[in-house]
Symmetry: D2
Subunit: 354 residues, 4 copies
């Protein structure tokens, strides 16, 4: 059983059906398809933002890098968490697309308002010599499974606004955060001061579709040119649109994230009963980070579980604490979770390990 990544998961039947449906007949290319019109309206409705400019791309890195490059100039610096995807997992794509540099705020996962302010203030003390202040990028849910509350988002965007800086939200797991907070999409974004969102679909049940939403459409055309220039404008765009449409219709996206979060909750509750399991931080959605002795990992792996550990388990002593990440995607049944927990409980029983 694989709990390695939500990128390993399949897509729900509705998405397959939507592709079959979208495949009928001929459709204009490059985003002029009729489905995209529906997607645009639906996203504007979901986000209560009738003026928003809405685009689709196929990867989260594209969504982030194109959004950020549209928000900044190449002599600026982007403020982000040191564990953010844009810093650690995109092979310099944000720098490539924007020309800007990244300033890592604090040492943690969530960005702390005081540290954000300090980081912003520290720039532009050197006139033309230093990088200029650029956008703030926050990740919701964070890479470590935390969720910013609406208040926390507001605090961060307030600081950005003080310095007239735009705010980007990397919402690769946007839906999981929304379900976790129980708020509206508008509340979590523009009502809280966010200017542009990478609205993730891939990790939550699509094959490779992400929305980019500009609440102020002023830079819409620039974004379109950037998207094309970066080779991210799809010719047969209808297949992106169709997926996103299925995702939005009947709140499928909320349903999928709800399933993932619910299954994750069950997993969290079960893990809490295993005394050898230590949580790095209380998980708020579908990403779980725990520390456990190496022997448990070894046994769990031998019993068929799959997930990533943050350090090697080979060649270390049984009791060496090793960090692991469990990702619970939309496709996991509660039965899967129970099986996972059973294996883990077994693995934790040291005497049984021979």
């Amino acid at each position: 059983m694989i709990f390695s990544s939500d990128n390993y998961s399949p897509v729900p039947q509705q998405v397959l059906d939507a592709l079959v449906e979208a495949n009928k007949g001929y459709q204009p290319s490059y985003g002029e398809d009729s489905q995209m019109t529906k997607v645009r309206h639906l996203i504007q409705k979901v986000f209560e933002a009738p003026q928003a400019a809405v685009y689709l791309v196929a990867t989260g890195t594209a969504a982030n890098s194109l959004a950020l490059s549209t928000l900044c100039e190449p002599w600026q610096t982007i403020f982000c968490s040191p564990v953010s995807h844009i810093h650690e997992d995109e092979c310099n794509a944000p720098e490539f697309f924007s020309g800007a540099k990244l300033t890592l705020v604090g040492n943690g996962d969530k960005i702390n308002p005081k540290e954000l302010k300090k980081s912003i203030q520290a720039e532009e003390s050197r006139g033309v010599h230093g990088p200029q202040r650029g956008p703030v990028s926050i990740t919701q849910i964070t890479e470590k499974g935390q969720v910013y509350t609406l208040n926390e988002i507001n605090e961060l965007t307030q600081i950005a606004k003080e310095f007239k800086l735009p705010v980007h939200m990397d919402g690769a797991r946007f839906a999981n955060a929304l379900v976790s907070l129980g708020c509206t999409a508008a509340e979590m974004t523009w009502k809280a001061g966010v200017d542009v969102v990478s609205f993730g679909g891939t990790k939550n049940g699509l094959m490779g579709v992400e929305g980019v939403i500009f609440f102020d459409p002023q830079k819409a055309w620039e974004f379109e040119l950037r998207r094309k220039r970066a080779a991210h404008l799809f010719s047969k765009h209808r297949y992106l649109s169709a997926q996103m449409l299925a995702y939005l219709e009947n709140d499928l996206w909320i349903e999928l994230a709800g399933r993932a979060n619910k299954a994750a909750s069950r997993l969290i509750a079960g893990l809490k009963e295993i005394k050898e399991v230590e949580f790095l931080v209380e998980p708020k959605a579908n990403l779980i980070f725990v520390k456990m002795p190496a022997y448990i990992h070894r046994k769990a792996f031998s019993m068929g579980l799959e997930y990533y550990t943050w350090s090697e388990i080979d060649g270390v002593s049984d009791d060496t604490p090793v960090v692991a990440r469990f990702v619970v995607d939309w496709s996991r049944s509660l039965g899967d979770i129970d099986k996972f927990l059973e294996i883990m409980r077994n693995a934790a029983e040291k005497e049984s390990y021979i």
Copy 2:
């Protein structure tokens, strides 16, 4: 009836089926999926190139720009046709990815060997001051529907080799060319001196999948880093792999291109019988360029045909010659062609135009 672009066409049932099949269960992400292993082997087999490095991306512009940037340095210039896609239709993507400039060879569609040689020789006469010679990029089939013969490809690659320059083939319509020439994939590429191919799938029946094939795998890892950095590495890569697999299995790609070319032949033959229709150049595959008086376009449009004209037809006199492009994609039945021709014949009868 739409003959505007092969990007407007649907995908065949096999591709939908492949997606459904690929959707079962969990799969490693970012190209580690088991389907990709099959794709790699199948492409190596099809191209008789067991050492080739094989990658998938989702857009033709990505395939071209990533391939070319891997072949050149930012102080070089890429030699290409003035009507090439990389020059006219990619919004500076090749320049963005590579940093290089483009040198337009000659004034035509196909690149002429003498002009290529002249263009290459004209560079590097200024030492460090001018751009340095970079890769040669040829488009097969060309943007105007021509097909380079194997001899012609050989002539061009010979010249490139003289100057030690690598050769890229933009094969957005690779299959249509192959069917037209009746040769093997190897013959049309590495056996003719081509180093890297953009192996198009999208225009010939996929949703958005293109192969990039390096016959010499030396720069494979660089390509992988470039692909990731440009945000073109798919997390749920299996859905690209599955499509390409369906495309290659049972020579579906050949079959689809065969259908398109055959239908196009019928269309060409029929159009030749209409005396008002003048061919800009003898079409060799599924792209057809004709010149006809404006009134024919107007009537054809009013009777439900759709295609692009190269200049406005509104507000010009009936007899103004206007260029049009017809693209015949894989999905067109011979019956469709007959209907198209009937409309066109009707439209051409001047007296009937009221």
Copy 3:
């Protein structure tokens, strides 16, 4: 005697004196020196442009590339002559700084208004797919020694304005053009519709100083950031300022260009009397292009003349016509010209060549 390039020439005594004077005491760095204030005012006065933003850099390529990158976006194309310095002699620097591509207008040296219009119109017919229209760059005097009249400049800038495109003037030999036309700096620039000028100093007597003048200062701060980011902001900036100050004071720049042009006129007149010398185009300033049989070059070289030929003279027959460029810089005395002519006359006498 060297007539190869105005880059081979020394600087006049006034420039050396200015450096000695500027060296006294301490001065703020990075353009905050008191000399720069004077330079700014003097240039504003010379150009009758009290609002102009004025900057100094050390190379012509920097002036051009920084100016153009400030005027355009990376998805645009810059319209220029196919023999322009920015295309042929800057090793992709304009592309590097701007991200844009270059569209070569016509086949000649001077840009023809009709061809400019045609080139501009030809872009943006493909929406987001093609490069977008960007600035027009004209070179005054041209690379082939021609001078645009005020009317000609006006015609070109009018066309640019029709399309709302900014106009850049590469004035590497600005002073030579001004002297040739006998007009004011304002007339040759903003009064004729030019938005930004690379105001050359180096070829006309400075060690390496070029002005960049924005008649509309709106993008001044962006330029400053671009200059710093490209490593072209000098710490000990006073030594640039001092040179430019000496250049402007007492109209030294006009005097130097006047000398060069006058000496060039004498050379032109003398060459016209040698029947073997054919002018490629009537020279208007201090750049002279002629075609002569190879034997003349061989003899001239053997008698101590130095200049560039546009093709090899070794291994060709005596009568092969070979193009040469003579550059007359400010430092050439009329006596030098007479010696040059004497050698050339001698060289042209075929019988004397043994």
Copy 4:
């Protein structure tokens, strides 16, 4: 009296004389001047590196950015100190030239070997997703006035070599470090494992000339293309060469740095006797960082001293500690230092401050 920056200082008479001398006659451009040949040989001799490729540029930022971009790929990260010039004072120039990102090692000024190793190890744990390891850049003397011992340099380069990473030295104040250590240029560079040096001249008495030295000339041509493409190749290059020649001849560079360091020592000794002055770190060359109550700064400024403080002194209480930087350049006499100290002693006497 100005102790703000070594960029505020004049150049010695020898440099002026060299310019006058170099101005005689005509010289080939773009680095083909005869002086450059001498510079190359002299630097090869000074560095005991007969194979070294040697280049001149006009700014330290150009030297660093061009050197680093030649050493790395755009998908890599450059390891450097968080207070390095390349990070804080070059407005993203290193990122612009290289495409790479910067990884800040530790929290201090000097790079600590353990932290360097940790930083390097932390990269490349994510395959293609994270940035790849790139060059290590160390600053000698550091931005805070520290000097790496030969052992310390060796330790750092050893770690870099372990990971096969090249090492760059930002030697903006190379001479001051050399004098401080009393070692040879070879010992402080290639013998200690450094691959490329930015050999500073500007801060130590030139108008704007920096050497870039590649001990392995393999990438020499690439550097030349990069220099030209970045607009940093001077046409009248002889004026750079002449300055560097004067700098090297008779060990002028050592003499100038010796003067600066000696005067700085006297200043340091004097400051140590003022009990209100606290050193942030023991200065090793000509950069001095101290903390003093605000009132002392206010009095010193009113008595004619000029230097930078790291925070505002206006509107803070008399006793607020405020950090200042004193830079002692080559032109400062011991008499100047005594005057400086006298003012500072006066300023420190609280009772006298009315």
